[in-house]
Point group: C2
């Protein structure tokens, strides 16, 4: 833990990943503590392509806690931000009193400045709150010297943030306790477990902002009979099946269950009153495309999943990624070439067999997909050692570039 | 029952209505007998706007059973057609042996010619099989002098056809017997019960033919966990609620439950693997429009329901129909005037309050809806006495106009 004896702020910078659920989280049993009605499971995406970077500084000169998100100062008094700050400070105080070290209690009475940016456009419609809260909690913990289980704190910022506290394949066990102490994330397998697994984020052009997930899931819990049945009776066995498929690296089982669970989540949104729609006509075309592609090959080579928006996330294996990118490019012809259409990990090029195009047999839909981000499974949050990468300057204010 | 002593064919012509379910039928427990996994409930639409007309002729001169649908000869050997013909002939034989009348047994050994037309374009995407099979069974029964319960025969042509055997508000009780003898339609209230109730069919322009309902519901039964829960645990209480709402003429209760059940049906389609989509972006806009319209007035004035296709059927009350038609015309501006946009019962005109347009606050979507058919609750099948309206001529062949 860094120390400051002079007036210069103590500064820590970390990064944290985005995660994409394959068994979906939808619905809280406790709004305050953010306790879910079912367990969920996600894949952590690689930070080379998608990450949040957060710098936290503290100094006795700071008058108040402040936060800047993507270059804009935001209200630090949001209840969920306050929960995370309060919890981390509580854990830091607890740790110090246990260790009976009194020398650095000062830092806990200091105010913090927080600055956070995403390396992906907000317009991409990717849920950034999971990476954001995971990064905030991880960075605060570094600053205050808090170690050990932190997913329970991240969870209180944004439910799915708890899963971004680990790399690889991560489950969030719903827990049973009313105080939420057992509602924590846990790594199922590390990022090295399944090196062939690849991820494509298909960024769909959406007309407007859909219903937010916080209010959406609240309405679902209140009105959807099917959601209750899903949480009580369907998800428990799906969690076991999914963990087993991942352990065995069984792509067909993993992919089929991923698609079924995405569709069931969206089904419960439609069973909500009034109904919530996250999938649009482009999303539905992607779904049809994937099923026709797999049917052509007589095996599950590609699987889709959709969160609370129209973007598709595709899971596939290294051997098939190149062809599937071409398929997407063919059936959603962009204005740009494949090179500009595809961001992130390069995939190499290939030409499409005519019989594949014919078997899919869909009318191409120009500009339905803006671009693809190509990535893979990645590690959990990291500390950035290079002080040149801090987002806050020596004055504790955001650097111009941040 | 008409008789023929010479060689001229015996001819009967009847009409039967379309019905639109408010508690949906989706899924069979017996494919052969067409026995459903849950009860359902529908409103019979008025035949002035939507009907099937069927003429059946029999003659000792006919060499074989034949059928013409909408001007085109079709295969009489379809299993479902054969089920209906066989059942009606069996009932006729049974009745005659009971009555010990032997004089007219001859008619039963004669072949039939069947000619059937709809007064609405097939392109409208309205399920015509319910009206079609109801009309076929009703007409055959007239010809052969069969009386009494016929919905069990119509059910074996097309499940929902059993509900078109009655006017007004009709439930199809799923029954329990393996032989289906108790899986019958029953009138809940006659068409005169709720004279203020009005129906608007919003014909949406669809790109292509969706998955057929027979194969769709089969896949749903095999793969959707949510469908099973719906059928077992949700529909039984909804049937009671719906019957009570109709008896009380409580539009808010009727409308809310109608919308919820439509959405739950489409949710189970989405939970099917691979998923089935019947709603498109226009359907979803209609759904949002209805909820915003109702929210503006702080009460449920309008309700939607969708079958296995993108067309919306709107239930509302006489007092609101005029304004809602204008709302649809405003937010889905057609190329034509309101006059041509609206077919069927006239509704009168009105101007839209600016604050209503603002409250709905949607971007108008030109040509999303082709036209509206305005209708109301109507009676069950009828016999057409005027021989000029027979679809088959004295030679037993379709008249040119049919």
């Amino acid at each position: 833990m860094p120390e400051n004896s002079c007036h210069a702020p103590t500064v820590v910078t970390c990064t944290a990943p985005v995660n994409i659920a394959v068994i979906k989280y939808w619905g809280k049993r406790d709004e305050e503590l953010i306790l879910p009605i079912n367990s969920s499971l996600s894949v952590t995406l690689h930070q080379d392509q998608l990450k949040t970077t957060t710098t936290v500084a503290c100094s006795r000169n700071f008058q108040e806690d402040r936060i800047w998100l993507n270059g804009k100062e935001e209200d630090i008094n949001q209840p969920r931000l306050q929960s995370c700050l309060r919890e981390i400070r509580r854990l830091a105080r607890k740790r110090r009193s246990n260790e009976d070290t009194t020398g650095d209690v000062g830092i806990l009475s200091q105010k913090v400045h927080i600055c956070s940016v995403n390396n992906f456009p907000t317009a991409a419609g990717l849920a950034s709150s999971a990476a954001g809260y995971a990064c905030l909690v991880y960075t605060l913990a570094q600053l205050f010297g808090v170690e050990g289980e932190l997913s329970g704190v991240a969870r209180q910022g944004s439910g799915s943030a708890c899963r971004s506290m680990y790399g690889g394949f991560v489950q969030w066990k719903m827990g049973e306790r009313p105080d939420g102490k057992d509602s924590l994330a846990e790594q199922v397998e590390p990022e090295s477990h399944w090196p062939e697994l690849r991820v494509l984020v298909l960024v769909v052009s959406a007309e407007r902002k859909p219903v937010g997930s916080t209010s959406g899931m609240q309405t679902s819990v209140e009105t959807s009979r099917l959601l209750k049945h899903r949480a009580d009776s369907v998800v428990p066995e799906r969690m076991e099946e999914m963990i087993s498929a991942i352990r065995r690296r069984d792509f067909a089982a993993f992919g089929e269950l991923t698609m079924k669970d995405s569709n069931q989540f969206h089904a419960t949104c439609l069973d909500t009153h009034p109904p919530i729609f996250y999938l649009n006509d482009v999303s539905r075309r992607v779904i049809n495309l994937v099923h026709r592609y797999n049917r052509h090959y007589g095996e599950t080579r590609v699987a889709y999943t959709f969160d609370a928006g129209p973007n598709a996330v595709i899971y596939t294996l290294q051997d098939h990624v190149k062809e599937f990118v071409q398929v997407v490019h063919h059936f959603f012809p962009p204005e740009t070439k494949v090179g500009e259409f595809l961001k992130g990990l390069s995939v190499g090029s290939t030409s499409l067999p005519e019989e594949l195009k014919k078997a899919i047999g869909m009318e191409p839909m120009p500009k339905g997909i803006n671009y693809i981000i190509s990535t893979k499974v990645g590690p959990g949050p990291c500390v950035i050692e290079n002080p040149g990468l801090h987002l806050l300057g020596p004055d504790g204010m955001p650097k111009k570039s941040a």
